[in-house]
């Protein structure tokens, strides 16, 4: 981030915090919390250690949901991209399931994983898997489907096919678009985890918001939201770094 961008960023934040402070001047605990109250709340829940438990719980669920979605979504999406008949049979199904909000699956998820240990965690992970799976499959499909014909012909011209062709041409060529899909999926999963946790589990940042609300501690609610925003940003920056290292030296002509 260039210093100028950093400066402008902080100015943006400063304006937001200032207006937030003015808007909530003189509010008590029960009303809309101001920045100062939020910071105090943040310090308190951090001090009590409960914040770290909730952060770990949320990140744990997103990590598993996301990795499973990537592990299954990428190969499936690439297969859809490469074999048109496969795409024609399954893509309509995928695209019709996609708009269903993952939260709608919660009742089924709870029943599906009922009785097993860590069932509420598994239910949340299942929801996150769904929320990340669809963008990943879609990105992987279009990455392979739009593979440049001249790369395919170059490889076949040199007699490179089968697994070598997949590993040395298809995968690297579709990597940029797949990584974009992954980054998008992680963002969506992070939004969904908080919502999922509001409904079914007893740990995590979503639960923290809901529980603070029940405890009439609006300052804890805004403190949790600050943490949610910060971690969401960190996850996105981490993915951006992964993308940068993976596509290093490819320059703009990434495809």
């Amino acid at each position: 981030m260039s210093p100028r961008a950093l400066l402008l960023g902080t100015v943006g934040f400063a304006i937001f915090i200032l207006s937030w402070h003015l808007a909530t001047l003189g509010n008590q605990i029960g009303d809309l919390p101001g920045p100062a109250m939020t910071v105090r709340g943040l310090v308190q829940i951090a001090g009590e250690g409960v914040l770290w438990e909730n952060v770990v719980a949320s990140v744990f669920r997103v990590a598993w949901g996301f990795c499973l979605a990537a592990g299954i979504g990428i190969p499936l999406g690439m297969a859809f991209g490469w074999y048109p008949r496969l795409r024609e049979t399954f893509n309509p199904l995928v695209q019709s399931l996609r708009p269903i909000s993952p939260i709608a699956w919660l009742p089924f998820a709870v029943i599906l994983f009922g009785g097993i240990r860590m069932s509420s965690d598994l239910a949340a992970i299942f929801l996150l898997f769904l929320s990340a799976f669809f963008p990943i499959v879609t990105a992987s499909t279009s990455a392979v489907a739009s593979l440049d014909l001249k790369y395919i012909r170059s490889a076949r011209n040199f007699g490179v096919d089968g697994l070598a062709f997949f590993r040395r041409v298809v995968l690297p060529a579709s990597l940029p678009q797949i990584l974009t899909g992954l980054r998008l999926a992680l963002g969506i999963a992070w939004v969904v985890v908080v919502a999922a946790e509001m409904l079914g589990v007893e740990s995590g940042l979503g639960y923290q918001v809901m529980d603070s609300r029940n405890a009439l501690r609006m300052d804890f609610v805004s403190a949790a939201m600050v943490v949610i925003a910060a971690i969401g940003l960190m996850l996105d920056m981490a993915m951006a770094r992964v993308e940068a290292t993976a596509l290093a030296r490819r320059g703009m002509s990434r495809r």
Binding site: K150, R153, S154, R156, N157, V169, A173, R249, R254
Partner: protein, 268 residues
């Protein structure tokens, strides 16, 4: 075509096998099925390419010269007729006949070294290194082994593509408007490069281009194609000695002749 097509084609190739013929294309037809109706692209193409020759194929854009080249390379199947290389029917692409694309087909995710070594497949590192370095030297890219395509100029990327193609020691090079994406100066430089490489390696080169001057400047013979559905109108011998100078009167005469066949008004 302004002139009605003469029945006896001037300087047309006799049908019999020519001594030293590398590629023989006989009565090739190619139709592309579309929703409305079939599009007939090649309509009875006959062409013979001699061993070690530099042949140019010239024709208006969209006439099907690239399709012909793709068929000769084995990327596309012909509807009817036959294409034989060393009297063997073409089934699919092979490292013996390497294709060079217009905007280069090298891989942006591989370094120059990896790109050139791409076609060499499994072999001990030092043997592969020796071959790769030899062709890096041939195309004048010493010192750029570790560079990636995004960091190279258009001309240098073209050189990597040539090196990659030559590294597998093919018999034939198919060049599909290879300099189309380059600026004028680089284009001139690369034309000299391809002639030098062609002389040094003795490969059979087939160049497809819509630039008549480029064809006359590079080729031993120039095959002129008609509009779609395309056929070989005629194959003209290029008597010019190398290195050629576009100001030579014979150069201009040959160019005019080709333009006239193509029915293109040359004067701007």
């Amino acid at each position: 075509m302004s002139a009605t097509e003469p029945e006896a084609r001037q300087g047309a190739e006799p049908r019999t096998m020519q001594a030293g013929a590398k590629i023989v294309v006989r009565d090739v037809r190619k139709t592309f099925p579309t929703k409305k109706e079939d599009v007939n692209v090649l309509d009875g193409v006959d062409l013979t390419v001699r061993e070690g020759e530099f042949l140019a194929i010239v024709g208006p854009s969209g006439c099907g010269k690239s399709t012909l080249l793709n068929c000769m390379a084995g990327f596309e199947r012909i509807t009817s007729g036959s294409i034989r290389i060393d009297s063997e029917e073409i089934e699919r692409p092979s490292p013996k006949r390497v294709f060079v694309f217009q905007e280069t087909g090298i891989f942006p995710w591989y370094s120059v070294w990896d790109n050139i070594g791409f076609g060499l497949g499994k072999m001990p590192f030092d043997k592969k290194h020796e071959i790769v370095m030899r062709y890096i030297a041939l195309v004048g890219l010493e010192g750029f082994e570790k560079a990636f395509p995004a960091e190279l100029s258009g001309g240098m990327k073209q050189r990597v593509e040539f090196a990659r193609a030559l590294a597998v020691e093919p018999d034939v090079l198919f060049l599909d408007e290879p300099f189309g994406a380059l600026d004028a100066f680089t284009r001139l430089e690369m034309r000299r490069e391809i002639v030098r490489i062609w002389k040094e390696t003795g490969k059979t080169c087939i160049l497809v281009t819509h630039d008549v001057e480029e064809a006359v400047e590079l080729a031993d013979r120039v095959a002129v194609m008609t509009r779609r559905p395309a056929r070989i109108h005629s194959v003209l011998d290029n008597p010019l000695e190398r290195p050629r100078d576009s100001d030579q009167p014979v150069f201009r005469e040959l160019k005019d002749q080709i333009f006239e066949i193509l029915g293109v008004e040359r004067r701007v």
